[in-house]
């Protein structure tokens, strides 16, 4: 299993996700420079977190025009698996590979801390392998994670099982208090209609190591790897 990790100018979680996938989970990974126009032979693609193009204009707005994104779009269109984490999620929504938009947090501040998320019942490719009732403790680190979508889109996402993760309490309760950024219906991640393109704001790669005393992210990444 080889994962392609796209490196945009300003990506800064590229090495973190590589470390989690390779050192902790035994996958293989290679970096793909954003100026490449084709993807190497990979089984899946990760768009990592960070500040592509400094998050200038809007997070992800400029990165979506990177040459590699055409290849990523084709890869997804052909049924490929793509995971966007944080800035990667923002790039996916900006490029129209996922619906909706990520606006500035309700507090208008950057927020870096642990939150809980649950997978619920969704068609996201990893969901079948995650305990739907369990609350996973995963850090967030973003200023624009406040998910919005038009009412019609939201209805469709719910109806089609495209909501991959929601913020919840440590006990799994979905309520306003558990929502760190004002996101619509506590949405923390969404997926494409076929479940294979997945975007999420929380960072599973940051809690994938015994050495950090936090491993819930490893379970999420393992479930994702196992879907191929």
């Amino acid at each position: 299993m080889t994962i392609g990790i796209v490196v945009f100018p300003g990506s800064n979680c590229d090495e973190d996700i590589r470390r989690a996938l390779v050192d902790e989970l035994g996958a293989e990974a290679r970096f793909v420079w954003h100026k490449e126009t084709t993807l190497p032979a990979v089984d899946a693609v990760v768009l990592p977190g960070g500040f592509s193009y400094g998050d200038y204009l809007r997070a992800g707005a400029i990165a979506r025009f990177s040459p590699v994104m055409r290849a990523v779009r084709d890869f997804a269109g052909g049924g490929g698996y793509v995971l966007g984490i944080c800035n990667g999620f923002q790039i996916l929504t900006e490029s129209g590979l996922l619906p909706g938009a990520l606006m500035v947090n309700r507090s208008l501040r950057f927020i870096c801390r642990d939150v809980y998320i649950c997978a619920g019942e969704s068609k996201a490719a990893l969901s079948a392998r995650l305990d739907a009732a369990r609350a996973f403790r995963v850090p967030i680190a973003h200023q624009e994670g406040n998910y919005v979508a038009e009412p019609e889109t939201l209805r469709r996402l719910n109806a089609e099982g495209q909501i991959a993760f929601r913020y919840c309490s440590s006990g799994g309760v979905l309520d306003e208090a558990a929502n760190p950024n004002g996101s619509l219906e506590n949405i923390a991640g969404v997926c494409s209609p076929n479940g294979r393109v997945l975007g999420m704001m929380p960072h599973p790669e940051r809690c994938s190591s015994e050495a950090l005393g936090a491993t819930d992210g490893a379970e999420i990444l393992r479930a994702w790897l196992a879907t191929r």
Partner: protein, 82 residues
């Protein structure tokens, strides 16, 4: 030729920044303020003689400057500028 572009958040989308600014203005004693919306502003300098500048600016907005899911744009063109 200079285009002045304002990008605003669509009316039915919650604007957390606008809300915060409204509160701050009230706190400062500007009680006559009923509402605030916050957006972005661009000044785009086009080379003189650019063909169909209006179409070009509209395209820039649609492709890059505004996010059509949550934002709308409007602009004016100053022939004289510079």
């Amino acid at each position: 030729m200079r285009a002045k572009i304002a990008i605003t958040i669509k009316p039915d989308v919650l604007d957390p920044q606008g809300k915060a600014v409204l509160h701050a203005l009230h706190d400062l004693g500007f009680s006559a303020v009923a509402d605030v919306r916050v957006g972005k502003y661009f000044e785009v300098e086009l080379e003189a003689g650019t063909a169909e500048p209006e179409a070009a600016i509209a395209q820039m907005c649609e492709k890059l400057l505004a996010n059509p899911v949550v934002e709308s744009y409007h602009f004016t063109l100053d022939e004289g500028a510079r």
